[in-house]
């Protein structure tokens, strides 16, 4: 009933905000919808144009237009058609900021950012979305680097992998993707080109900030099978519980796309938590369980997020031994991609590098990569991260 009333008002007021949808669509934003409920304006969008969500939100705010009789504005940000974060503020405070009466910090303080989106997501559920992101194809070109240090005959062995990838969001949370690996400058091994990953993944967002990600297909490290991850956020983004379960066997598609596999299933079963230290955009995580090599132990990790740059220190300790190291994730490629069309070519957004500082043995707490999902992309949508990036961007008028 409540939803029906809202949809009625939404229908009446679609004309009012049409220019916002047109402008956002022209800018390349997707899954757009809006409605007005009394003096409260609601807008939802998904960004696949800008590399960083903070940039996208700054652009949306800059483009936003509304009439004087509105008092409140709520924006719901989506990823893969699923709701992620909401932003709510009074229209007066935004006007005050734009006219220079208050600073960006004051406006941010008055605005509400939250990942508790159940209520607002319901309001948009039955609305038709403009410029849907589904069934479009992204041809992504990426690079990865494998290396081995320490041999006396060739002290720095390297392999640069060119990794073209094709991916499509088929529906809310559903992605089909395939990544081909072409080794070049290879003095690590004799690996042929092959399909390093081809998988179908489904993200679910349930009520009360519970998420589930399920993957089926071929993953990195030549694994074939099913892998799932469930996260439950407690106390918003500050604390989340995480459970992983996967059954895989050796399997891969070779350079001729023929399947190669064995029948020995291996299990990954882990549970743990991630604590978010919002003040410093830092994740402290701990996972305990059995890993791919059937070793039992834990992984402890500290990750500091500097906008798009991630720096982690980690300790893996299992009955195979200990491993300590660090890794980096840095953004690469342009900050703004082409507009999403039926087929779009773009660069991969990050480059990752892992360094194992000390390691007792190989294969300590080994895992494989099942591809991106909304859980490993979530930190960009965290309220505190969006707040800080808006302060940086709107202070500099970088929109």
């Amino acid at each position: 009933m409540y939803k029906g009333i809202i949809l009625f008002f939404a229908g009446i007021n679609l004309i009012f905000g049409q220019s916002n949808l047109n402008k956002l669509e022209a800018e390349g934003f997707e899954n757009l919808a809006e409605f007005k409920q009394e003096s409260h304006y609601f807008l939802t969008y998904e960004n696949n144009r800008y590399r960083y969500e903070g940039d996208a939100l700054a652009i949306v705010l800059a483009l936003l237009e509304y009439s004087d009789n509105l008092t409140d504005i709520s924006i719901l940000i989506q990823n893969r058609g699923l709701p992620m974060t909401k932003v709510h503020f009074s229209s007066q405070s935004w006007l005050n900021f734009k006219s220079g009466l208050i600073g960006i910090e004051d406006w941010i303080q008055q605005a509400e950012f939250s990942i508790n989106v159940d209520q607002i997501a319901n309001l948009f559920e039955d609305l038709k979305k403009t410029n849907e992101s589904f069934k479009k194809f992204d041809a992504v070109v990426g690079l990865s680097l494998d290396y081995i240090l320490g041999n006396y005959d060739n002290s720095i062995r390297q392999k640069i992998n060119i990794q073209p990838e094709l991916q499509s969001v088929l529906g809310p949370g559903v992605i089909l993707s395939g990544r081909y690996n072409i080794p070049t400058f290879n003095d690590v091994d004799n690996e042929d080109s092959y399909m390093v990953m081809s998988r179908l993944t489904q993200d679910f967002r349930f009520k009360k900030n519970t998420f589930l990600n399920i993957n089926v297909g071929y993953f990195t490290n030549s694994r074939f099978g099913i892998y799932s991850r469930m996260d439950r956020f407690l106390d918003a983004e500050r604390l989340r519980l995480r459970v992983d379960f996967g059954i895989t066997r050796m399997g891969r598609l070779n350079k001729d796309f023929e399947a190669e596999s064995n029948t020995i299933n291996k299990y990954i079963m882990t549970g743990g938590f991630i604590y978010r230290w919002n003040k410093y955009d830092t994740d402290l995580s701990f996972r305990y369980g059995t890993f791919l090599g059937t070793d039992l132990g834990y992984k402890a990790r500290m990750t500091r997020q500097f906008n798009e740059v991630f720096v982690s220190l980690f300790l893996n300790k299992t009955n195979f031994g200990s491993m300590v190291g660090f890794d980096f994730r840095v953004p690469i490629g342009p900050k703004k991609h082409l507009k999403p069309k039926r087929i779009r070519i773009r660069t991969r957004e990050h480059f990752d590098l892992i360094y194992n500082y000390v390691s007792d043995a190989n294969n300590i707490a080994t895992e494989f990569f099942t591809g991106s999902n909304i859980l490993n992309q979530f930190t960009e949508y965290y309220p505190e991260v969006l707040r800080k990036s808006l302060i940086e961007r709107l202070k500099l008028k970088r929109f």
Partner: protein, 244 residues
């Protein structure tokens, strides 16, 4: 000439001097200070240690001073406002990596934690652990070449138009790991003038010798230091530094 120098420093546009030591962490010439870079600071750089002062890290003459010059290449990050971490490779410049020499650059990890932040009557106080992975059973006990565990305090003073920084620290063994880089009391100081804040004179005693250097920070990114080790042989640091 004087005007030209002022113009140069003005163009460099930097208000403060922040120094990288030969070790790779924040410090004076060789010794660490208790100061921290601002949060999110990332540095990547290299140092030059002259011949006669470099300690071999492998083979029969391990831990002995050799005639080869050396170099440290490092990455340093202030991962928190009060936590600085550094990873470094130590290279013997005349050695080649091959099966005959069995040489490979030495790896080292350092973490520094600021316990007290400088206030009117209190200095910065920092504790540092350097190359101590063996103490946590992560490498073999005898593998460390530069292990050190230290407390260091730094206090800054304004004297007329000069800024003076005084550093005093002590390095010791940690558990059963012997201190090998510094051991005992070390001290040093820095001096800069308010009109040329991006030029600084530094001097230290690193528990073995006295070193001195001048250093500068250009275009908000480039850190350079030129000095003399033991007041005899040239040493240098170059680093690229920016805020993430």
């Amino acid at each position: 000439m004087k005007n030209y120098l002022f113009l140069l420093f003005f163009l460099c546009g930097v208000l403060v001097v922040l120094g990288q030591s030969l070790t790779g962490t924040r410090g004076l010439v060789r010794i660490p200070t208790a100061d921290m870079y601002p949060d999110k600071t990332f540095s990547i750089g290299a140092t030059y240690t002259p011949s006669g002062y470099f300690k071999r890290t492998h083979g029969a003459k391990r831990q002995q001073i050799v005639e080869s010059p050396g170099s440290n290449t490092f990455i340093t990050i202030n991962i928190l406002p009060y936590l600085e971490v550094m990873f470094r490779y130590t290279h013997e410049l005349d050695s080649r990596v091959n099966p005959t020499t069995q040489y490979f650059p030495d790896r080292m990890f350092t973490a520094r934690f600021r316990i007290i932040k400088e206030r009117k009557y209190l200095p910065n106080l920092t504790v540092g652990v350097q190359d101590l992975s063996a103490a946590f059973d992560l490498t073999c006990k005898g593998c460390s070449n530069f292990s050190s565990f230290y407390f260091v305090a730094t206090k800054h003073f304004l004297v007329n138009d000069f800024k003076l920084g005084i550093t005093l620290g002590n390095s010791s063994d940690f558990l059963d790991i012997k201190a090998q880089d510094f051991k005992g009391l070390f001290w040093g100081g820095s001096l800069s003038h308010k009109n040329i804040p991006n030029l600084e004179f530094v001097m230290d005693y690193d528990t073995k010798m006295i070193n001195a250097a001048v250093r500068t920070h250009l275009w908000k990114r480039l850190h350079l230091m030129f000095g003399v080790m033991d007041l005899k042989k040239t040493t240098a640091v170059i680093a690229y530094r920016y805020t993430l």
